[in-house]
């Protein structure tokens, strides 16, 4: 399981304020908690912050990098911002692995972002949607996913660097989507060899739900069984992380031992 920390996101009020007022300590404390919880990649998302977004990305990336050398995923819905931010961050942090989060399967967007990934040795997340928006069914997700994967490989990326995100929507407004996402993962995993990686923005499933943590945990386990191998999630949520590890032990992704949680943490150098 590749854990992308979701916490460094300007949608959270504390992070937004830290970005606006350039308070490194607030961000760095959060990053430490996420890394200690098991985060492998730090996703950084500016949210609705003030100022030049590219400069903000550079500041945020440097701030995070001061406390961890984990890969960074640059998270924005604006292709131009992502292209420029990826190049700039690569310049200031040449040793850090970057992941572009995200592209859609819209041809112009793919062309721009896939070549940005290839030029900077970065990974990329492809949303399974095109100009028509988020698909309401499995078929369209699979079609968009396959298109993105093919384009990315033609663009010179290795399957290891390609993540497909079948886009999860809140269960309280789109009750059929959780199953559609799982089925899309299953189908995309079967037809591609070697398969790409699959990722979801987990917390989206429980937006405005009262039992959000329980829903996140349950759905993450279900998706892992379908073939998910990465998630943007709260790495500091111990029960969530432990449920994911347990699911992977039950799928024989890790060798069981009585202290398998501790083993997983030791393996990451966290114990």
């Amino acid at each position: 399981m590749i854990i992308f920390s979701e916490r460094i996101n300007g949608m959270y009020r504390d992070v937004r304020r830290a970005i606006n007022e350039k308070q490194k300590a607030v961000v760095q404390q959060l990053v430490k908690e996420q890394v200690d919880g098991g985060a492998d990649v730090i996703d950084i998302n500016l949210g609705p912050t003030k100022g030049d977004p590219v400069e903000n990305f550079v500041w945020l990336a440097e701030t995070v990098h001061e406390v961890t050398d984990k890969p960074l995923s640059l998270d924005s819905a604006k292709p131009d911002v992502l292209t420029e931010a990826t190049a700039r961050v690569k310049q200031v942090l040449p040793e850090t692995k970057l992941i572009i989060n995200s592209s859609t399967a819209v041809p112009e967007v793919m062309a721009k972002l896939i070549s940005a990934a290839a030029e900077n040795g970065a990974g990329i997340i492809g949303l399974t949607m095109d100009q028509e928006g988020v698909p309401g069914n499995v078929e369209k997700r699979v079609e968009c996913g396959a298109t993105f994967l093919m384009t990315a490989m033609e663009g010179g990326l290795s399957p290891d660097d390609i993540y497909l995100d079948p886009i999860i929507l809140p269960v309280n407004v789109a009750p059929k989507q959780p199953w559609n996402v799982m089925e899309a993962i299953r189908q995309l995993a079967v037809v591609n060899d070697p398969p790409p990686k699959f990722i979801i923005g987990l917390s989206n499933i429980s937006q405005k739900c009262l039992m959000n943590r329980l829903i996140n945990r349950t759905y993450l386990v279900m998706c892992i069984a379908a073939g998910l191998n990465a998630a943007i999630m709260d790495a500091a949520d111990k029960e969530l992380v432990e449920a994911a590890i347990t699911a992977e032990v039950l799928l024989e992704k890790h060798l069981y031992s009585d202290d398998y949680i501790k083993a997983w943490r030791m393996q990451k150098g966290l114990a």
Binding site: L255, D259, K262, A263, M266, Q267
Partner: protein, 320 residues
């Protein structure tokens, strides 16, 4: 059309562990033995390198063995009343290490004291300069008194001490840590426990890099395939990146092979089974060479001809 590259790309690698210390390293050994380091499936050179071929230790008991059959008696009976002389013999025969079993500390086998055991270890260290493996008697209460003493007199020699288990690991781990020795982690035919013992020992602050996995052993005809599948699963987990399974593996082949009736029975069975002088060493050699395919770094053996046969097989497999 080109042939697709079917090579496995492993993310993990077996750790390397060195046993013994030369004078330059603070000990008195004439040589050291390095185990492990494999980066692929055993003997598939295209898959990954095998920098250190499996090493072989020959058995030395601290008392005259009660039940060793003829072919072994022929090799050792003139020295086996004296562990120091026996250790010298083992070196002459070409072993890489001496495997010393403190049988006589067992409450039912002489109940020798920690001090007596320490004397034996000292005598063996002085008589023979090969790296040393030292085992207690498998009675935890007694081993807990003897092994710290033994570890202390062997300080600086970087020995391999056996064995810690899931239930009994604190004393021996502390002794190995205090006096600078390597540890054998025993998990009888249970891969989940192999991982668990490593977690427990490491949790005490003992380095994962200083552990040897001992999954127990079974001989040809007596459940060897169970051990084989454990070796195989463990090695695949290690090569796939599980650091808690990436330690070199030890197998006690001599002890198990010579318990088999096919190896022990004398020439009264020669008409059907062939002469005992060949049968026993062959049983031991076949057990060893089979298990080596599963992934093993250190073999404990008994008969010199079995050892030679295994070395020959290994050199052919590594050259190929």
């Amino acid at each position: 059309m080109s042939v697709p590259d079917a090579k496995e790309r492993w993310s993990g690698k077996i750790t390397t562990v060195t046993i013994g210390a030369t004078p330059a390293e603070g000990g008195t050994r004439g040589s050291t033995v390095t185990l492990g380091g494999e980066a692929g499936i055993p003997f598939l050179s295209f898959d990954g390198e095998t920098p250190n071929p499996p090493a072989i230790a020959l058995d030395v008991l601290d008392v005259e063995p009660a039940d060793w059959p003829g072919p072994l008696a022929q090799v050792y009976s003139d020295v086996w009343s004296d562990p120091a002389a026996w250790a010298k013999r083992v070196k002459e025969l070409g072993a890489d290490l001496v495997n010393l079993r403190l049988v006589s500390i067992h409450p039912d086998e002489g109940d020798r004291s920690p001090e007596q055991a320490a004397e034996t270890v000292k005598a063996v260290l002085e008589a023979c300069d090969l790296p040393l493996i030292i085992w207690g008697c498998d009675v935890p209460e007694k081993d807990q008194r003897v092994m710290p003493k033994v570890a202390e007199v062997a300080q600086g020699e970087n020995c391999l001490l056996g064995a810690v288990t899931e239930d009994e690991y604190r004393t021996l781990t502390a002794a190995a840590q205090a006096y600078g020795h390597k540890l054998i982690a025993l998990s009888p035919c249970d891969i989940n426990k192999a991982k668990q013992v490593n977690i427990l020992v490491t949790d005490m602050g003992y380095p994962l890099e200083d552990i040897i996995i001992y999954p127990s052993t079974a001989s040809l005809g007596y459940g060897m395939e169970y051990i084989y599948s454990i070796l195989e699963r463990g090695r695949l987990a290690a090569l796939s990146g599980d650091k808690l399974m990436a330690q070199p593996v030890l197998l006690d082949v001599g002890l198990e092979a010579w318990r088999a009736k096919e190896a022990r029975t004398g020439d009264e069975a020669a008409e059907v089974w062939g002469p005992a002088a060949h049968r026993g060493p062959l049983w031991e050699a076949v057990t060893a060479t089979d298990l080596l395919q599963g992934g093993c770094d250190l073999l404990i053996m008994r008969h010199p001809r079995a050892m030679e046969a295994v070395r020959k097989a290994v050199s052919q497999l590594i050259e190929a």
